[in-house]
């Protein structure tokens, strides 16, 4: 990352210098140097990103500055009204949810939410949802069905919460019941894997008609560290595990498990969140407009077939 950071710093210095500069001709000169540096920076980025290994993809998918669900929500939707509560046991801030407007149509939104600092992360429980989160999801899926709202979910979680309390309130049942609730829907559902698609915690809200995946998101049945620890008794073999698990967007598309990969701006989504959001928005709109052609019963049947066909075996 060193050359990249040096370039970024040089660009920033020139940009601030340009503001103060009064000598005639200097501004143009600075501008030219900026453009040169930017070109070199873009080259560095292109080279870096062309060589990303699966483990680096994992790090990127988990990276702090990456846009989170609420960033996309505010960039893509309007009038979002967050609704809370599972009407059973608690509020869960690892999943945010509620109706919002997508251009001129109301939809039901739902997504894992990470935090950017310790306070936020604690409040969001590191985006690890408890049973309450999935039961809130179920409640809102049912509401979406009643009011004919398409559902859009954003997936970004390391895993569902594995604690004793989550076990005692049935985290497994909550995940399964959330998938089951999604399979009941006759309104279209679209999921976008925007960061970490972590195992059961992810699929719990991703049993959708269309599943889109951002270029640098990952989607996996188990975290590479866990896989390495179990199979090779060595969490350090996480690179090997990351490669073996085929958890990148490219692999997921090749395996036919996601419908579309959403390209990210040069240097990944955090370098240009609005451009990233625009691509996500287009992806969602396109997916919904395809699904709009189906009748409610066809929507449901489409979702069933989508998952029914998944699996690779000799037969």
């Amino acid at each position: 990352m060193k050359p990249l950071l040096d370039l970024e710093e040089a660009i920033a210095q020139l940009k601030s210098a340009i503001v103060r500069e009064t000598e005639p001709g200097k501004q143009e000169e600075y501008q030219g140097r900026i453009e040169g540096y930017e070109k070199r920076r873009d080259n560095v980025l292109d080279i870096m990103f062309s060589r990303l290994g699966p483990w680096e993809e994992v790090l990127l998918a988990r990276a702090d500055p990456r846009p989170y669900t609420l960033d996309y929500v505010s960039a893509i939707f309007t009038d979002f009204i967050e609704l809370d509560g599972d009407r059973r046991a608690g509020a869960d801030h690892a999943i945010v949810a509620g109706p919002a407007m997508l251009e001129d149509r109301p939809v039901m939104l739902l997504g894992h939410q990470k935090g950017r600092n310790l306070t936020e992360r604690t409040f969001r429980n590191f985006a690890m949802a408890k049973p309450e989160g999935y039961r809130k999801a179920i409640r809102l899926f049912e509401m979406a069905e009643r009011f004919r709202l398409p559902v859009v979910t954003f997936v970004d979680t390391p895993a569902a919460d594995p604690g004793v309390e989550s076990e005692s309130r049935g985290i497994s049942e909550a995940i399964a019941a959330s998938m089951l609730a999604m399979f009941k829907l006759t309104v279209p559902t679209v999921s976008v894997i925007i960061g970490e698609g972590g195992s059961g915690g992810a699929i719990g809200i991703a049993a959708s008609n269309k599943v889109l995946m951002q270029e640098h998101a990952v989607y996996s049945v188990i975290p590479p560290e866990g896989c390495a620890a179990i199979l090779w008794r060595d969490p350090a073999k996480k690179d090997k595990a990351a490669a073996a698990l085929r958890l990148t967007s490219k692999s997921a598309l090749e395996l036919g498990l996601v419908d579309q990969v959403l390209p990210e701006p040069r240097g990944s989504a955090y370098r240009n969140p609005l451009e990233a959001a625009e691509t996500v928005k287009d992806g969602i709109l396109e997916a919904l407009s395809e699904l709009d052609r189906l009748s409610p019963q066809e929507v449901k049947a489409h979702r069933y077939s989508r998952f029914r066909s998944m699996g690779a075996f000799l037969a």
Partner: protein, 273 residues
């Protein structure tokens, strides 16, 4: 259970209380320890013999074999070894059988095959067992025994959770009763999918039932885990099970359930008459 040096040994040792038992008594007691009541793990064949009507089982879906879609390191040799050890094609066996005369569609997971893990084949078989219940209007009974999803099939394994759950939704919509029986252990990706959304969930005593390994769960929390954390008895108290049923009572309990819950299915009464 340990069977000593020779597999034909006359004695076995209880895995729980370590007492020595006559192999013949042990078998006739359905591999339940006469001293401590410990329910030892069964093979799929024992499960079928000791649960369903004699000779009623007909296997289905035998053609399904794993294709190692990810070319995952060491998966093929491990899988082959498991096949040789168990004589099974994969961790789940499916078919038709009757229980107290009631025809049912069944799936049995066997922990001896790669920890009963669910890859594409297991997921497909469970899904077919559920769909067969719908197609033939007969109740579905699934015995679970699994450490979770099979990581060697990566995301494909994760998708089996969704696929099998979709089939459960179909059963619910079409009024087909689906009864799950948790045996030791029923964990992770299996518990978090088709297993937990059965109409009725029975469990063998003391079966380990949980989402995360107990070590992970306990690490994650300030809350102290109870002594029987993730044991069926605790899971029952947590509201996730309907009943804990001893192995010797399983047939009768399942029989009554499929009879009563399946009575509305077209022709079931006739089939019984």
């Amino acid at each position: 259970m340990r069977t000593g040096d020779a597999s034909a040994s006359r004695f076995v040792q209880c895995q729980n209380c370590k007492k020595t038992l006559f192999a013949t008594d042990f078998a006739s007691n359905l591999k339940v320890c006469a001293y401590c009541g410990h329910h030892h793990r069964l093979t799929w064949r024992e499960r079928i013999d000791w649960t369903f009507d004699e000779g009623s089982f007909v296997e289905t879906d035998t053609e399904l074999v794993s294709g190692d879609p990810l070319q995952f390191p060491d998966y093929q040799p491990k899988h082959l070894a498991a096949q040789e050890k168990t004589g099974m094609a994969d961790s789940v066996v499916t078919g038709r059988a009757t229980i107290q005369g009631v025809p049912v569609s069944i799936a049995i997971s066997d922990f001896h095959f790669m920890g009963g893990s669910m890859g594409s084949v297991a997921g497909e078989k469970v899904t077919r067992a559920l769909e067969r219940g719908c197609d033939e209007r007969i109740p579905v009974v699934i015995f679970c025994a699994s450490g979770g999803a099979r990581m060697q099939e990566g995301l494909l394994s994760l998708m089996q959770m969704a696929k099998s759950t979709a089939a459960v939704e179909r059963c619910q919509r079409e009024g087909v009763p689906y009864i799950a029986v948790f045996t030791d252990p029923t964990m992770a990706g299996v518990l978090a999918s088709y297993a937990s959304v059965a109409d009725v969930i029975l469990s063998e005593p003391k079966a380990l039932v949980g989402f995360a390994g107990a070590r992970v769960s306990k690490q994650a929390q300030v809350v102290k885990a109870p002594d029987d954390f993730q044991q069926a008895e605790w899971v029952l108290r947590s509201g996730m099970l309907d009943r804990i049923v001893e192995r010797r009572d399983m047939r009768a309990t399942l029989g009554s359930l499929v009879r009563m819950l399946g009575a509305h299915l077209r022709g079931l009464e006739e089939k019984l008459a």
